[in-house]
C-alpha cells in the first residue's frame, strides 16, 4: 500500500513539475532577451513558486496569488454545486437506464446523454438566460449576488458568506445568492451528469451480471433492496475513478460558464488576463487551474483505492 501511495505521489510531483516547466516556457518566451540560460532560470523560477511568489499582475499591480485566492472560491462554489446536481440527477437516471436496458426508457436516456454530451456549454448557457431570465424573468441574468446586498467576503463562497453575514437581510441575501447560482450550476452540470449516467449505467450492468446479485434475488430480497445494497454499492468503486477525471472537464466548462454568466471566478479572470496579455496572471491562473485539476483527480483515485478493497487488490496484482 505504501509503495502504491509513494508511486502515486511521485507521479503527482512529476506532473506538477512538468506543469511548472510549461509555465516557465511561457515566461521564457516573454523575456525574449533571456539573459540567463534556461536551466538556472528555471531553478530560480521554481524557488520563487515554492516561496509562494507568483509574480505581480501587470493589469492591477497586485500580487497574482492574492487574485487567485480571491477568485478561486467562486469557481469552487460553482463546481461543487454542479457536481452535487450531477450526482443527484445522474445516479438515479443511470440506475433506471441500467434496469430497463434495451427498452424505451434506456434508449431515451442514452439519446439524452448523447445530446447533453454534444451541446456546447456556452450556447446552452445563453439559451437558458434567454428563456428563464429574459423571457420568463424568473432568475437573474448574471453575477453572483444582487448589488443591493452588501456582503463581507469571508470564505468567498457566496452562499456561505451570506449566511455568515451579520445583518438582518441575511436570509433574503442567501436566497438571492442561490437564485444566482441555479442557472450557471445547471449549465455546468450538463456534461458531468451525462458522464455520471453513463458510468453508473455501465458499471451497474456489469455488477448485475454477477452471481451474488442472483443469489440475493433468489433469497427473496426485493429488487430495490438488492439494487441499493449490492448493486450500487459495488458499482460505485468502478465508476468513481472515471468521475474523478471529470474534475478537469468541469473546471474547463466552468471557464465558459463564468464568461456567459459573468461569474467572478478564476476562469473569467484567466480569459480576461489573456486578452490583456497579463502574463503573470495567465501563468498563475493556468498553474492554479491545472494544479487543482491534477490534485483533485489524483486524490479521488487514491481515496477510491483506499476505501475499496477490491481495487486495492487489483493494484497488487498489476504490480505482480
Amino acid at each position: 500500500m505504501l509503495r502504491y501511495l509513494l508511486r502515486r505521489l511521485g507521479l503527482l510531483l512529476t506532473t506538477l513539475l512538468v506543469l511548472t516547466l510549461v509555465a516557465y516556457l511561457l515566461e521564457f518566451k516573454l523575456l525574449e532577451d533571456a539573459q540567463s540560460d534556461f536551466m538556472t532560470g528555471y531553478l530560480a523560477f521554481l524557488q520563487q513558486l515554492l516561496a509562494g511568489d507568483f509574480g505581480i499582475s501587470s493589469a492591477t499591480g497586485l500580487p497574482v496569488l492574492g487574485a487567485i485566492g480571491q477568485y478561486f472560491p467562486a469557481t469552487l462554489e460553482l463546481c461543487l454545486a454542479a457536481f452535487t446536481i450531477s450526482l443527484l440527477v445522474g445516479v438515479p437516471t443511470g440506475t433506471l437506464a441500467a434496469l430497463r436496458q434495451g427498452r424505451w426508457q434506456d434508449t431515451l436516456i442514452l439519446t439524452g446523454t448523447l445530446i447533453g454530451y454534444s451541446v456546447p456549454v456556452f450556447w446552452l448557457g445563453l439559451l437558458l438566460v434567454m428563456f428563464f431570465s429574459l423571457h420568463l424573468g424568473w432568475l437573474p441574468v448574471s453575477g453572483q449576488l444582487s448589488l443591493l446586498f452588501e456582503i463581507e467576503q469571508v470564505t468567498g463562497i457566496m452562499t456561505i458568506d451570506t449566511l455568515l453575514a451579520d445583518s438582518q437581510y441575511r436570509w433574503p441575501a442567501f436566497l438571492d445568492a442561490v437564485r444566482h447560482l441555479i442557472l450557471p450550476a445547471l449549465v455546468l452540470a450538463i456534461v458531468p451528469t451525462t458522464e455520471v449516467i453513463r458510468q453508473t449505467r455501465s458499471a451497474l450492468l456489469e455488477v448485475l451480471k454477477q452471481n451474488y446479485i442472483r443469489a440475493a434475488l433468489t433469497k427473496g430480497f426485493s429488487e430495490t433492496q438488492v439494487i441499493l445494497r449490492h448493486g450500487l454499492r459495488n458499482a460505485f468503486p468502478m465508476a468513481i475513478p472515471t468521475l474523478g477525471l471529470q474534475f478537469g472537464t468541469v473546471l474547463t466548462s466552468a471557464i465558459m460558464t463564468e464568461i456567459v454568466f459573468d461569474w467572478p471566478g478564476l476562469g473569467r479572470w484567466l480569459v480576461s488576463s489573456i486578452a490583456l496579455q497579463d502574463y503573470a496572471a495567465i501563468k498563475g491562473g493556468t498553474l492554479a487551474i491545472a494544479t487543482f485539476t491534477i490534485v483533485a483527480s489524483s486524490a479521488v483515485e487514491v481515496l477510491s483505492t483506499l476505501i475499496y478493497p477490491a481495487r486495492r487488490r487489483a493494484i497488487y496484482v498489476r504490480q505482480g
Binding site: L11, L19, P120, L126, G248, I259, I274, I289
Partner: protein, 297 residues
C-alpha cells in the same frame, strides 16, 4: 460476394469489418448520423457554390432581419441577417469550412502525429515506454480545452494558433489510445508467432499490428473530431480563436452575445450548427463503437 461465382461449397465467413458494418447499418441513430456527416462534409466542400451570398457581403437595407418564417422575414434571407446585414445562412455555410473543416484537419494531423508516437512507443519496451507513459498521463490529466487555452495564451490569439494549439492538445489522446492498442496487440500470441518466424519489426507492424488497429483509430477519430469542434468553437467564443468578421461558429456566437434580446436567431443558429455537427459525429462514433463491441463479443 455477388458477381463472383462461389465454386467451393463453403460457408462464406464474413470478416469482422463486414459484420460490424452490417450491425452498424441496423443502428438507426448511427445511420442518421452518417448521412448527416456526409451532408456536412458536402457543405464544407461546396460552400462557395451552395451559399447564396458572400459571407462578408452587407445588405444595409436588411439589418437584423428575422428568419424567413417570421412575419417580418424575407425569403431572400432564409435564416435572417445579423446586425451588419450579413446573410446568416451564407455565414453559417462558410462557417462550416472554418469550424468543421478545420476540425477535420486538426484531427487528421493529430492522428498522424499521435499514431506515429503511439506505435513507436507501443512497440518498444522498458525505459523509453515508461517515460512516454508517464508523460502522457501528465498531459492527459489536463483537459484538452484547458491545454488549448494555455497554448493559445503562449502563441497569441488567432485562428491558426488555435488550430496548432488544439492539434497539440489532442495529440496526447491519440497517442494514448494507439499506444494502448499497440501494446495490447504486442502481447498476443500471433505476434509472438510472427517474431519466432523471424519477422522484422516492420513486418510485425505491417501484418500483425496495423490490421488490428482500425477499431481504435475509428473510435478515437470520432471522439477527437467532436472534441475538436467543441474546442475550436469554445476558443472562438472566448475571443481567442478566429477573430470576429470571420464566420467561425464560436466567434459568431460571441459576436452576437449583445444581440441576445434583440435578435435571438443570431445566437441560436450558430449554436444549433455546432450542436448538430457535434451530434452527428457522436452518433456515428457511438454506433460504430457499439457495432465493433458486439462483433468483438
Amino acid at each position: 460476394m455477388s458477381g463472383r461465382a462461389n465454386i467451393y461449397p463453403e460457408l462464406h465467413v464474413r470478416s469482422p469489418r463486414e459484420q460490424a458494418w452490417e450491425l452498424f447499418r441496423k443502428n438507426t441513430l448511427g445511420m442518421i448520423g452518417l448521412w448527416g456527416l456526409g451532408l456536412l462534409s458536402l457543405l464544407t466542400l461546396l460552400a462557395p457554390w451552395l451559399a447564396p451570398y458572400a459571407p462578408y457581403e452587407q445588405f444595409s437595407q436588411a439589418l437584423l432581419m428575422p428568419p424567413s418564417w417570421a412575419d417580418e422575414g424575407n425569403i431572400d434571407f432564409f435564416l435572417g441577417t445579423d446586425d451588419l446585414g450579413r446573410d446568416m445562412l451564407s455565414r453559417l455555410v462558410f462557417g462550416a469550412r472554418l469550424t468543421f473543416g478545420n476540425a477535420v484537419l486538426v484531427v487528421l494531423v493529430a492522428l498522424l502525429a499521435g499514431g506515429c508516437i503511439g506505435i513507436v512507443g507501443g512497440m518498444s519496451k522498458g525505459f523509453k515506454a515508461s517515460i512516454l507513459n508517464h508523460f502522457l498521463d501528465t498531459l492527459l490529466s489536463i483537459p484538452s480545452l484547458l491545454l488549448a487555452i494555455i497554448f493559445v495564451a503562449i502563441l497569441g490569439p488567432g485562428l491558426f494558433n488555435t488550430l496548432i494549439a488544439i492539434t497539440l492538445a489532442l495529440t496526447p489522446q491519440f497517442t494514448r489510445a494507439i499506444y494502448n492498442a499497440v501494446s495490447d496487440e504486442m502481447q498476443k500470441e500471433y505476434i509472438t508467432a510472427l517474431r519466432l518466424d523471424g519477422g522484422t519489426r516492420w513486418r510485425i507492424l505491417r501484418f500483425g499490428v496495423l490490421p488490428n488497429l482500425s477499431d481504435t483509430i475509428v473510435s478515437q477519430t470520432t471522439r477527437g473530431l467532436s472534441a475538436a469542434i467543441l474546442d475550436i468553437t469554445a476558443v472562438g467564443f472566448l475571443g481567442l480563436g478566429a477573430q470576429p468578421p470571420r464566420p467561425e461558429w464560436g466567434a459568431m456566437l460571441s459576436d452576437a452575445m449583445d444581440l441576445v434580446y434583440l435578435a435571438p436567431w443570431t445566437v441560436t443558429l450558430p449554436g444549433l450548427a455546432i450542436l448538430l455537427s457535434v451530434l452527428v459525429v457522436n452518433m456515428v462514433g457511438e454506433g460504430l463503437r457499439q457495432a465493433i463491441n458486439e462483433v468483438m463479443d
